[in-house]
């Protein structure tokens, strides 16, 4: 009778997990994909879902099954369960299995990390400076001239951008959800992230993700990703302005 209860429970569990995974993958969790990093991170997240949903469902179904089958029936008020003190075999299993699973996930996450931070040739540097409560952007000029500074963030499409981020006052955090990348702007040091923009024209929100005072909530701007040619002409215009002033 015991074995067949276990089997019963496992079958229910498997069905539920399958359903759970399907549901979890069906839900659209993320904002638009705006960068190569976003692709990799979304996949990693889906893998994590596939790994963890069964664990979650397993726990739920054991609890629900026990409530259903083993709850105290009238007349059992004084009844006790069987005095089972443990089983070394089981304990080894549920120590080793999660450990292996986690090591595997860490290894995968590690490879993804390496990929989303890999430097590409001809990547372009944008210097980001945060202050309460606004973002400033500066582009090293092509001819090594005076850097072009702008309060609008324009980015060439299909190009790796290396953001070098500084802060004038307190800690802020440069975050573009569609890029899936963020890093703190820390007074005294320069932090950096790399983003490979998609080959498509689009505007994305830039938000400050680290509490920085009363204006924190409103410290938002827009990142305009535009074709390379368009970007170059924008740069030229900006450089002229820079020279003239």
């Amino acid at each position: 009778m015991r074995r067949h209860q276990l089997a019963q429970m496992l079958i229910l569990g498997l069905i539920a997990s399958a359903g759970g995974i399907a549901l979890a993958l069906a839900i659209d969790w993320f904002p638009k994909v705006g960068s190569h990093q976003a692709d990799r991170i979304d996949t990693l997240f889906d893998v994590l879902l596939v790994a963890s949903v069964p664990i979650f469902v397993l726990v739920q179904s054991i609890v629900l099954f026990s409530v259903w089958k083993f709850r105290m029936r009238p007349g059992e008020e004084l009844k006790d369960g069987p005095p089972i003190h443990g089983s070394t075999r089981l304990e080894v299993v549920w120590t080793a299995f999660p450990a292996l699973l986690l090591v595997g996930l860490c290894a995968y996450a590690y490879s993804v990390l390496g990929d989303i931070e890999k430097a590409k040739p001809n990547s372009m540097v944008v210097n980001v400076t945060a202050e309460q409560f606004a973002w400033h952007f500066a582009y090293p000029a092509a001819g090594g001239g005076k850097p072009v500074s702008s309060d609008q963030l324009y980015l060439p499409a299909n190009r790796q951008i290396e953001f070098k981020i500084r802060s004038k006052d307190v800690i802020h955090d440069f975050f573009v959800p569609e890029f899936r990348m963020k890093i703190d702007a820390v007074p005294g040091i320069t932090t950096k992230i790399r983003v490979d923009t998609r080959n498509q024209r689009r505007d994305y929100p830039v938000v400050c993700a680290e509490l920085c005072g009363l204006g924190h909530a409103t410290m938002r701007q827009t990142a305009h990703v535009i074709p390379q040619a368009e970007f170059d002409s924008w740069m030229q215009r900006k450089e002229k302005e820079a020279q003239s002033t």
Binding site: R40, I41, V63, M72, V103, A109, G213, A217
Partner: protein, 628 residues
Amino acid sequence: MTVARRLQAPGLPRAGLGLLMGVALAYAIVLPVRSLYGFDPVLDGEAVTIVSLLAAPFGFLFGLGAFDYWFYWASGRPTRAEDHSGHGAKSWRDYFRVNTDHKVIGIQYTVTSFFFLLVGGALAMLIRAELAQPGMQFVSTDGYNGLFSVHASILIFLFIIPVFAGLANFVLPLMIGAPDMAFPRLNALSYWLLPIAGTMMLLSFLAPGGSFATGWTAYAPLSTDVPVGQLFFTVGVQFAGASSVATALNFLVTIITMRAPGMSFWRMPLLVWANFSTSLLVVIATPFVAASQFFVLLDRALGFNFFVPDRGGDVLMYQHVFWFYSHPAVYIMMLPGFGIISEILSVKARKPIFGYRMMAFSLLAIVVLGFTVWAHHMFVSGMQEWIRVPMMITTAIIAVPTGIKIFSWLATLWRGVLHLDTPMLFALGFLTMFVLGGISGVMLAMIPVVIHVSDTYFIVAHIHYVLFGGSLFTIFAGVYYWFPKMTGRMYDERLGKLHFWMTFIGFNATFGPMHLIGLKGMPRRVADYADQFAGWNLFISLASFVVGLSTLVFVYNMVASWRGGPRAEANPWRALTLEWQVSSPPPTFNFDEVPTVVGGPYEYGVPGAVHGVFKKPAEVTATAGGQE
């Protein structure tokens, strides 16, 4: 009693006097010093505030009489030998005195911290009211920052941590067969530090410039240049921290030196094991949060340069020091709950805990691992990059000992006889909800994912699934479970079940969707947000009010049952552990004679099994069956 004599006798009136004298002292110190150094203005509000925040509490404690005995002792005057007048509570007034009885202190602790749950929760209600729609409705932006900062600080430092200490204070000495804690006066002192810390944090709302508004993490350098309200956190944390260190020290000494004969470490109930591990964490980790706030205080008040980059200071140092405490702190807020669940599940499933020793070892494993993962809160902080991957691995590995506990509990349920009353419902609710919070935690450990979701509502979801679905559910379970023992009355089962279902459903409706809006990119700690999130936030706010109401049901149940509930018998749950072998509420001195332990604490289903007997060891040792 004449006013004069009132003010001389220890008690609240004298405490009030002491408080005023503390403030007076602050002026007496600050004014001369500042004029001496020729500072201008001589009367500086912030300086006086700082000194008062430090001096007034001590004045209060002196007045209350928390130190009287030690003064007599130190000055070598004859100390009144403990006449036990400090034991037991004859009327409600005794709960407002310095009382050395661990049962009275336990109740003081529990009731006080539940008051702070209501306050912190009420603040959460305001948070949700503001977030119900995009744009600003009720509060200013930094008014909002103040709301969630106080909300979190109150609920962490004045609810979760102390309420566990309170429950253990009442139950633990009984469980190990001790007549009281090892240091009853220290115990009383650590309780009275709590109201001080809590009042201080709430008073910050009256400070010019508003309450502290830098989150419960109070990152420098923001915390060093915001208005004076911040100081109420900086200093308040010192008192809360001192309180928990003192209690932890007390628990450790009590557990090590005062166990009943026959109560070997491997016969201790898992609640005792849990508090043992937690106390280790507290004693080792808490000094770091104290220091982190010292640094902020020094930078602010005396112009030190710990966090001033131009002068060679290091901004990230704050986060390392803070999280070296505050990660262990999250286990300080969970391990005692693990203990409670172990007690309840085995009693309510009428089965021995599955794998008792592994349960104990996994607690210790979590303690050790807990100190090796702090930087997982700093994955996007710009710290040295090489630290990240080692911390990712240790963080993920912590899931293993936690998993051992979860699976052992499930195995304890298997083929048991489940009594599905309120404590059991909350215990099962914990099992199901904490796993979700834990799993989202493991996702957060994966650096690429956390780069995206850090500082978003995904984190807020994780926080509440572990702290509410985890810690708070275990606390509710524990309070219902020991309510008969603590008050001598039974709670109302129907209201209890209503409370559970409202909380369970409201909780999931509130915090479940936060995972989604977080992944979609809604940052945390914002009073205003993009319109795309408006729908979900309205839903969340409505759901959160259901949780709020459910808590009021709980409060009503507790108050009404305590005053008019049916009398509880000594052992309504047919439990084996020692606290249930004495009357409800327990006699003033716990036991007529210290019991002798002859077996394990969870031998349900073993015919004729006993855990402790109330005979003198001499007569017992014959019948005592070897090990567990």
